[in-house]
Symmetry: D3
Subunit: 314 residues, 6 copies
């Protein structure tokens, strides 16, 4: 098996199969067109520049293609960048499919669905359980393949479901320590909080925002969906409003997109668990690429901090 | 007819019929209970303190009662306050009803409904027209009696409808000057933008926030309602999403409660018209009480400013 | 007549007469000098790069020249940019003058002056009327040709006067709806509020800030001018101070350059009308270039938002 | 056993033993002196006013006394307040000691010390282990009795140790889910992060800030102590600096008192665990006093929010 | 000579001549009127409450009167407050005049005028010198008696001139160390920067804001005055604009009232000297009242900080 | 002697000895490597780009080398940049050493040490004197050679000591004017406030942050050092804590890195003197390069302002 992108550093040469996640054409300062490619495999991704492209190049190396690339990793403003010496589309002979290269969650869709089903099964409040099950079922196939975001964290195939599963596991541990927390409410809030992303985002790969995503956002979309589900299931109890509030407030503050701050205990805890999982995820990925005694690249979504990996780290 | 509250100043004595908008019990620093009453008539309202109250007083002078009050207007930290010398409930002999004393919009419900109906009638886009008509009809009776807020601006009987009518008239003038604006969209946005207040607030008088109002807010409530109305009318075109966006963004910024800022031209204009009408309304009421050459009381919702009334004002 | 700049999109070729609004020399990353040109005609403007320029090029293609340009419109970081294939100065044979290409207000100077004169004529307060007439007369010729700004909004020939005329028309509609507003004061405030720009800015085209503009700013300049005008006309009544306050406060907040916030009702309304006209102007221009179903380019002065043009727009 | 303070609501009468946590003399608006007492028992605390006090009263009812109080619970600006009808010092006959009334952690000092000792025992990094053990031993007796703060959260006898134990348990669960985290570092950071409070605060009860607490603060105090401990133990490896960084950064941001933000993964997680435990603690205590369907009192340290207790809460 | 106010602490009794700086009537929570008096002598001032006042009391103890007061100093929310036992107007027999009691600058008007005249005399730039001399002469008598503010710092008789003299002395020392600074400009800026306060404020005692002060502010007023002075002296060189800029920018930032930040070196230094003198002045007065080892009262204008007086202070 | 860098302007050619302060490799948009060099001599520094570098170039023109450079000064985004035509390492024949080119303080190390020794000698408080002498002696050699920062102000050889000497001279003048200030404390605070930079920064030239500098910062480092010094000298009086507070608070605000704001008078004055010296230093250097009637380059650390040099400046 080939060495993964994450294991190449500045100065290394790569001769590797990669998947073009996105391809953007622009004009260089010498007036010639070039492509900025985001190349990925299961271990990570790297930006690459392809200079002086022909019209054929543009067609061939647009997004969502599998390619063989020869190039050198260089430093560009503190980030790794691949300088391409040679690039070609793969053929059948290469025996490589997108599925071999696309970064996905470390758990299979079945494993994740199994865990979530179990969490729903354990709920004791029938209203909360029915709403959660209904909405998950409605959007299940997209939920299992979409990323959790276009960048920053869990931005890979099945990232949305994997983020939810990690949060559920965290919630299980926390509710064990603080028994006054309402488990059903917290689990349901976790499962639903980002489900609106199946409409906010365009799809599992090469993901961008939809118009609805831009104008309404995943929070508003999901709050509406809960309301409609309640009508369809003919549930008109307070659980509906509380679940809508959990989704509405999960970004924590008005300036972060939650028109109401958390005003229910489980809403506050949901907001915390969401943040904690995302942050550990981002730090882990940055630190994987750093050696002991070094600082990581700057992580934009963590206030642009660089993290230090102690020399005594294993 | 009796002289209105607004015409009494510090040093004046009042002997007047008034309506108790709210009554709050508290304990004075000498340990004795007292009531803080908000007393109103059609021209305005004044705070009053009733000291050393008995249990009978508490019962009698709770909210939403009509009373005859004798007292003196005093200055308390820069605001007028009535020191009550005598207060009694009115009887049939007084010939006074709440309707004689409650502050209401300067237009009748019929006049306002007539104007709004005409604006809807002029719409050319059938989807926008049907949604607007459907939702207005659904909540029409509350819409015509509710205030637009619990304080700050248009916080009187029918204040919500009156605010909407003023905004529609403003919009008519503005769309005449900037003909690229989509009239239908702007009118519909104005009619719907605050309609969620019929669920956010408790009622036309002694108005407080409902639990749903606290946890979801009138914006989220109305965005949901538009979605449900679209299902009921079987309209699934882009107009729905755009109307939801207008309601969602009408507070202008995330930190003011709009998860998305205005991203459609008419949404930005709606936000402006809403602010302009509210601000002129607040300034007018503050200036009514000031004489030329004086500053008004501080207006909390206008960044706590005091406004100056020029000596050459009429 | 030739097709205007605004009607060309990415991918189009242009072969067009244009006016060089500005020309800036810089050094490319290959070490060679190049020019960044802002090219305009009556419909709009476009940035262009001229690579590897000779000393002759620098001389020829400096600002305020009329040129014939052949090139291709490309996308550069989300904005249109012209890649020049050929550029030459126009000669008499071309029959093109700067006046044919410079963007100007849609009304003639006479029309605008006629409208403003009428607004001043309608004033009933003689002090306000005399001050306004005196200052307008003093700076009339510059007022009628200057732009309202160097960028963002009304940044074209006669843009300052056109902005004032639009605001006066808006004010007329608003004062009709809110009759307590002092028309004379509001009209005078509108006419004077930006008049200091004739000293803050360098001239009607290729406009930059003067030293006085940088160190004092148009607000301070105009407040001083009102004081001097009052001395010259021997008017020493409160109207002077109030007009100075309207000018001083028209940016609304200290952090936006108004040392005092609006503390007179008409000052607050002036601030609102100023903003509303500027914003609609900016949105209209951005939306003109977008097709239904698309987002506009980002508009820097509107918090960098992109606006959506609904599919049902005409 | 007597009914605890937490179980009394507005309108109830109390006839109860309580402990005076603090007593402040002031002058009422009628010119007479009065005392503001904070009265507590194991279940909570309540503010009380004692009007028109004599010099004897002042002496008797100063802080840290045990008293028998008869009074009525009233509402004062949205908070409960006790109106005292009768108060007297306890005598031997009452058979009540401060220990019966002072609020303490739900675990005994031995239990807490046992748990912490076990966490230290599990550490594999000898440098981290020795530093932690050394400092804990140095301040052990104060650590086990001090509160974690003067107000807001864990402000009771042994609150500091209890907060640390809760955080360690949380950390155990989280490190199980995210195995790349360095357990030793995180545990040590938790044990040391607030240990400087034994010098910042004055003692286990009637706690106020010391001068050193005001001028240096517990973070700076503890960072210094780690440096000195390293000298005494002759450890000069990177672990020292990293532990100092964890303590230094645990408030998360400069404006919250951490001169450096967390730049080591475990520092970020420590900051999160600290917040999460404090917040759940504060919400739990506020919600204990509210009934289902009600909002709690405003919680100052949680951005002054009121939390809603759903009607379906047990 | 009597012991000054500043030397009395909580618990002391006073039997002293004082000057009533201001007197405000309000209503106590028992419904009875009382007066809040600010009483002063040369050493400082103290707030006092006079309860249950008659109409005679109101008349007698309004502002700007000389009184003999017997009372006790008490603590009210961390500040000293005098509880009046007896108060009477002084008569001729007392042999006390306001001049004996009003706090004034430590230098006489002649001494201050002498120093400032010397600084002007040393100027080498004739334009700067003439403008400064002209404006100082125009407002000299008010300049020598007005306070520098209504509260916070230098809020005493002749405080404005004294603040200017202190700043000039500071400037002399600083220009000696940094010889590139333009002395003339800096001295002139210091003399003129706050001179507009003679129109912003109402007078030397019981000082409040004038309408012009509220609507324009001392900065705008003085910038205008410099412009008019230039016209009168027929000076039309750059010095005028630079002096206007120094005055305009001396608050340092837009949000502190300077529409332009300092953009000339001497403007930045002026801003610094202004702040430094004001801050030392405020700290000195707060520390005078504290004993070694204590914290001062909170100083509102210094971000509400309390300052510590070290035990080793003399 | 050769003409210094500061005397070259845009359009000039340079043929000069220079010192490479730093050298950074990057990849141009045409895919070829280039170096960004910071070249300096005693008068200043200039950025230069070396295009299409070979591996030899990279080795030769890395940091801390002496070179002979031929090139042209060009304008790059408002800043001067040198376009290199020829560059070579110096040889013995050139007779140039780094000491001839490195920018240093205008005073010699001996002069500076002499002045500081005198200030310490004048101290009357033996505890303050001993601590200051001890710490200065401990780090004396680095203190005399390190810069005060990596950029912005005093970023040259011996800049740290020079900044301290300037501040001491300023303090001497200020304490003469405000005699209540504690000279000993202020002088000691000035000498110690930035001494931690000898551990925060890597060395006297090509200065970068150390890991300890990044994770703890010079403030925390120095506060620790004072604590350790006190132990070594066996001084346990309040002076230690106050000196630690002066160092801790000298950035003035939490968001600028001081966990505690100045709470001692001399701490506030220290913060002011630090700022004033740094700001005058930065303005002087920017203005040196500008001609009368021009604005300087933007100064990043002064809120990105450009300063104006009046036409009447000498």
């Amino acid at each position: 098996m080939q060495k993964g992108i994450i294991h190449f550093g500045v100065g290394d040469s790569m001769d590797t199969y990669m998947y073009i996640k996105s391809s953007t054409k622009a004009v260089a300062s010498n007036g010639k067109p070039f492509l900025t490619l985001i190349l990925s495999d299961k271990t990570g991704e790297i930006e690459a520049k392809l200079w002086d492209v022909s019209e054929d190049d543009e067609r061939n190396f647009s997004g969502e293609k599998t390619v063989k690339v020869l190039g050198d990793v260089q430093n560009f403003r503190g980030r790794s960048q691949l300088k391409i010496r040679n690039i070609r589309l793969t053929t059948e002979q290469d025996g490589v499919t997108p599925a071999d290269l696309i970064q996905t969650a470390p758990l299979s869709q079945d494993e994740m669905m199994g865990k979530i089903t179990q969490y729903i099964f354990e709920m004791k409040n029938p209203n909360i359980q029915r709403i959660t099950r209904h909405l998950l079922k409605k959007y299940q196939s997209d939920f299992l393949t979409f990323p959790a975001a276009t960048k920053n964290h869990h931005e890979f195939y099945s990232g949305l479901a994997y983020h939810v599963v990690s949060m559920l596991d965290l919630a299980k541990g926390i509710t064990a320590l603080y028994p006054t927390l309402d488990k059903d409410l917290l689990y349901a809030g976790i499962i639903l909080h980002d489900l609106g992303k199946v409409k906010e985002l365009s799809g599992p790969v090469s993901t961008v925002y939809t118009t609805e995503g831009n104008l309404l956002g995943h929070i508003t979309i999901m709050v509406n969906e809960i309301g409609k589900a309640a009508d369809e299931l003919n549930i008109h109890t307070e659980e509906i409003m509380i679940l809508q509030h959990l989704v509405l407030s999960h970004h924590g503050k008005a300036e972060w997109g939650s028109a109401k701050p958390p005003l229910v205990r489980e809403a506050e805890v949901l907001h915390y668990i969401d943040n904690l999982d995302a942050k550990i995820n981002m730090m882990n990925r940055a630190l994987e690429k750093a050696k002991p005694g070094e600082f990581t690249e700057k992580v934009f979504a963590l206030e642009n901090r660089s993290f230090y990996k102690p020399t005594f780290s294993e």
